[in-house]
């Protein structure tokens, strides 16, 4: 289908983009990669009055090593994220999860920031940002603010980014020595969305799990941490059977839905199985 009519602007800076969003009023929308926006426009599920294209704002692109953390511009494409040496060596979980997103064509255009700001519960990258305690920099008419991943995802397709605001960059702390990571995604078809996904980062010390951080994809309206598994894992030996036992509470605190892909019970089963797999793989069990 052909989208309904809208105006289009392509600002060169974040300030210009915010001015354009403000001038455009409530129905103005940011577009970066367009890989979630274009399907919505074509199905006329979105009918913005103005599209503000942020794909060419230099400040919003690129990947920077800050020593103890990595900052990724929101308009950096999935392709650039997954092929970056900085990301591959210091935020491997993100590189691995990004490689499972969609298909090559979509990864060439879709952006990390777009995937977070869209707030799709089935998106793979929100759970990764949550598991890695990422911080988002948001710019708006009142200036800039930093929002922690745990406060960023508000509800189904709703994030902390207000209608006149822009997600500028994402900063992810490096994990350091002893940490291993793994993203386990369960889907049924090529280029399919996750029915359930599990992002795990695990620190091993002296053959035992010292700390675990686990983010779940598509288990609620927003990504959630499997907190009870995280506590159950602390001090546990790196053994597949012990990890499996600790993973039995993976569905605690989740609100899985039933849809065409799977029913709630099956999703909860997947949470337990995939959490055990992701943790075992991250811990090298």
């Amino acid at each position: 289908m052909i989208p309904s009519t809208f105006d289009y602007v392509r600002p060169k800076s974040v300030d210009e983009a915010i001015a354009a969003l403000t001038a455009g009023g409530e129905d103005s929308k940011v577009i970066t990669g367009g890989q979630s926006m274009l399907p919505l426009l074509r199905l006329r599920m979105a009918a913005p009055s103005v599209l503000v294209d942020c794909a060419r704002i230099d400040e919003m692109k690129g990947i920077k090593d800050n020593g103890d953390s990595v900052t990724i511009g929101a308009a950096t494409t999935h392709l650039d994220v997954m092929s970056s040496d900085i990301v591959k060596s210091h935020v491997k979980l993100l590189a691995d999860a990004t490689a499972t997103v969609a298909d090559p064509q979509v990864r060439h255009r879709g952006t990390f920031g777009g995937a977070l700001a869209h707030g799709d519960p089935a998106g793979d990258l929100p759970a990764v940002a949550l598991a890695l305690d990422a911080t988002m920099e948001i710019a708006g008419p009142k200036g800039r603010r930093q929002v922690a991943a745990k406060d960023f995802f508000v509800d189904y397709f709703t994030t902390a980014v207000g209608p006149d605001e822009i997600l500028v960059s994402i900063t992810i702390p490096k994990l350091g020595k002893g940490w291993g990571t793994c993203y386990e995604k369960f889907n049924r078809t090529a280029n399919g969305w996750a029915i359930v996904g599990v992002a795990a980062a695990v620190k091993v010390e002296g053959g035992k799990i010292a700390e675990a951080r686990i983010g779940l994809t598509n288990c609620a309206a927003v990504p959630v941490r499997a907190s009870s598994v995280e506590s159950a894992l602390t001090g546990v030996a790196v053994s597949a059977t012990e990890i499996e036992a600790a993973s039995q509470s993976a569905a605690d605190g989740t609100r899985a839905t039933t849809d065409l892909g799977a029913d709630k019970e099956y999703r909860e089963h997947l949470m337990r199985v995939l959490t055990a797999r992701a943790v075992s793989c991250a811990a090298g069990a």
Partner: protein, 156 residues
């Protein structure tokens, strides 16, 4: 209307488009590149795949205004005097039945081989993940891409 300049198959076009014009409609209806086709409304099928600044993209999922200043290669721009090796291999291996997915399959294969000249069968299947075929069951498509890889190494 918005002015765009887009190089399509090596020729620079200065055009006026409505911001809502999809790149695929611009290519087909304004430039006449009807080799690029539309197969779905959900960015899923990949029939519309082109190269945008050298990398594969679904032209139904890009606005023409977003491609302003860019260079596009469509299926019509691949062959010179002779078929492009990927096209020749699809012909040789019977990598198509109805042919509707073929323009997109070929463009995705060109992108894949540009990045990875020596793909395994699994890498070919993954590289074509964004392209659906309702007819062939994919086997001959995978064979075609493997043959193209072989022939391109031979400098053909």
């Amino acid at each position: 209307m918005t002015k765009v300049s887009i190089t399509v198959d090596g020729v620079l076009h200065e055009s006026e488009v409505e911001p809502r014009t999809l790149l695929v409609h611009y290519l087909r209806e304004q430039i006449g590149k009807v080799g690029t086709v539309v197969g779905c409304d959900t960015s899923s099928c990949g029939a519309c795949t082109i190269l945008l600044d050298g990398r594969s993209a679904k032209s139904c999922s890009v606005l023409a205004v977003q491609a302003d200043g860019s260079s596009v290669t469509t299926i019509e721009g691949l062959a010179g005097e002779e078929w492009h090796p990927v096209q020749a291999a699809f012909k040789e291996c019977h990598g198509l039945q109805c042919g509707y997915c073929t323009p997109g399959m070929v463009m995705s294969a060109v992108d894949l081989l540009g990045e990875n000249p020596n793909p395994t069968e699994a890498e070919i299947r993954e590289g074509l993940e964004g392209n659906l075929c309702r007819c062939t069951g994919y086997h001959n498509i995978v064979k075609s891409v493997a043959l193209a890889a072989q022939n391109m190494k031979g400098g053909k």
